[in-house]
């Protein structure tokens, strides 16, 4: 099993470690609920060094990313970040990712840990058609996420004024121990926050310096458990649960990152056709009315007939409700429809609701 550069820190902090995507990762330190609430009300730090990083350099770096992702890369300015997806020829999802525009001829792609090898092979199939170099930097990059209402103050203490100037989904460079590190205002929690990338050798001291800087805001280390409940409350899809190569970007509710008018890209024809013919199923949110917690894989019923499946479900620690996402027939994929979730031997009532379940108040 792989270890991140922060493995020893997790052990020192008494984290409960689990295997995730081939890595030994902290699932929780003190408890999922406490960590979840810390991020919603204070600030938390996550080790996300398991994530993959690919760098693309070359005259056709733009054309390459524009062809292999469904969002419109031409809309990106230097130092801007974009949420996007790699699509198959059928318009289904190879992976979701962040695209960082480093320069006109250089992009950084941040992908899911579980998909690093698959994504790299997928991109390699196309790399010869473009004047571009594709480099897998996953093993030489550590990543941490600092998330919550006091994330900005915490990072400002460590890196200075520059932090405040970074807007949502933009990045800049900060100096740490004489080295340039990429700091973006991004995250997977639904809160304000940052993600920082550095060399593995710097990770431990940076982790501890951030914990020190955040002490006065009661910062806590947070594990994968809270990361999952936070992203679900904010209705961010989890690859492998909520979408994969059997679901299209449109079915996964990611129409907003699917720019069919941007010009040709892999999967565009299939997606145009699907949009024209109309979707049959769509990923939609629901909230439990009866007692019971929905889980990945549970069947969904309407009037006693099985009509879909739960892809993500959990107790939502901040909302104190049981919530989930499910693929539903498109006619039911709007707010206010009564459905039933098959929880073990029982049928439990639920109601479809608009997402995100949780939305932070803008300052």
């Amino acid at each position: 099993m792989k270890k991140t550069p922060l493995y020893e820190e997790h052990i020192k902090l008494g984290a409960k470690m689990v295997e995730f995507a081939g890595f030994s990762m902290p699932v929780q330190y003190k408890g999922v609920i406490e960590e979840h609430l810390t991020v919603r009300t204070k600030v938390g730090i996550f080790d996300v060094s398991h994530m993959g990083e690919f760098r693309l350099k070359g005259n056709q770096a733009f054309d390459f990313v524009q062809y292999l992702t469904c969002n419109d890369v031409s809309k990106l300015s230097q130092k801007q970040v974009q949420y996007s997806a790699f699509t198959t020829e059928r318009g289904t999802v190879v992976d979701d990712l962040l695209v960082y525009k480093v320069a006109d001829d250089e992009y950084l792609l941040v992908v899911n840990a579980a998909n690093i090898e698959k994504d790299f092979k997928h991109l390699e199939k196309f790399v010869d058609r473009f004047d571009v170099d594709l480099i897998n930097e996953s093993d030489i990059t550590a990543q941490m996420a600092i998330q919550g209402p006091f994330a900005e103050k915490t990072m400002e203490k460590l890196f200075g004024e520059i932090v405040k100037g970074i807007k949502f989904y933009w990045f800049d460079y900060v100096e740490y121990k004489g080295e340039k590190c990429l700091l973006s205002r991004t995250g997977y929690t639904g809160e304000d926050g940052f993600e920082i990338y550095c060399r593995p050798e710097l990770a431990s001291s940076m982790w501890n310096d951030i914990l020190d800087a955040g002490k006065e805001y009661e910062i806590e280390p947070c594990g994968l458990g809270a990361r999952d409940t936070l992203r679900l409350e904010a209705r961010m899809n989890l690859y492998g649960n909520d979408m994969d190569e059997t679901t299209t970007v449109l079915e996964a509710g990611l129409g907003w990152i699917c720019k069919l008018d941007k010009g040709d890209f892999l999967g565009r024809d299939a997606l145009l056709k699907q949009k024209e013919e109309g979707l049959k199923k769509k990923l939609y949110g629901f909230e439990m009315v009866d007692r019971g917690i929905p889980r990945h894989g549970y069947p969904v019923f309407k009037d006693g007939k099985e009509i879909g499946v739960v892809t993500s479900g959990s107790f939502a620690p901040y909302l104190k409700k049981n919530i989930g996402l499910a693929y539903l027939p498109v006619e039911l994929a709007k707010a206010g429809n009564e459905i039933e979730i098959g929880i073990r031997k029982k049928m439990a009532k639920a109601i479809t609701v608009k997402t995100p379940f949780y939305k932070r108040e803008k300052k």
Binding site: V27, G31, V32, I33, G225, D228, R291, I293, F315
Partner: protein, 128 residues
Amino acid sequence: MYPKDYRYTEDHEWIKVEGNIGTVGITDYAQKQLGDIVYVELPEVDDEFEKGEEVATVESVKAASPVMIPVSGKVVEINEDLEDSPELVNQDPHGKGWFFKVELSDPSELDDLMTAEQYEEYIKSEGE
């Protein structure tokens, strides 16, 4: 830590027997492994179970886990406090966090269960 007058299963349930009635819950080791408990699905009063059958479900934030009944018998009472306060299982697993009471149909089944000492040895060997 583990009360001497309780008996324990390999699936980390405990049972305390008084007369013909056993009170059942999950062990401190089990609640620590599960983390924050947010829901407990209990059987209904008068439901009958065979020893080792799935009798309840305990859910942490992350997952649902089955609870097996340590002995055969009929459920005579359930802990209704768990409905609104499932965290009692974390806070007091061997006391206020009990799940249900069962009327034993074959008290000799208790002989198959572990004593507190045996259970403590058992969880050590499980790698805690």
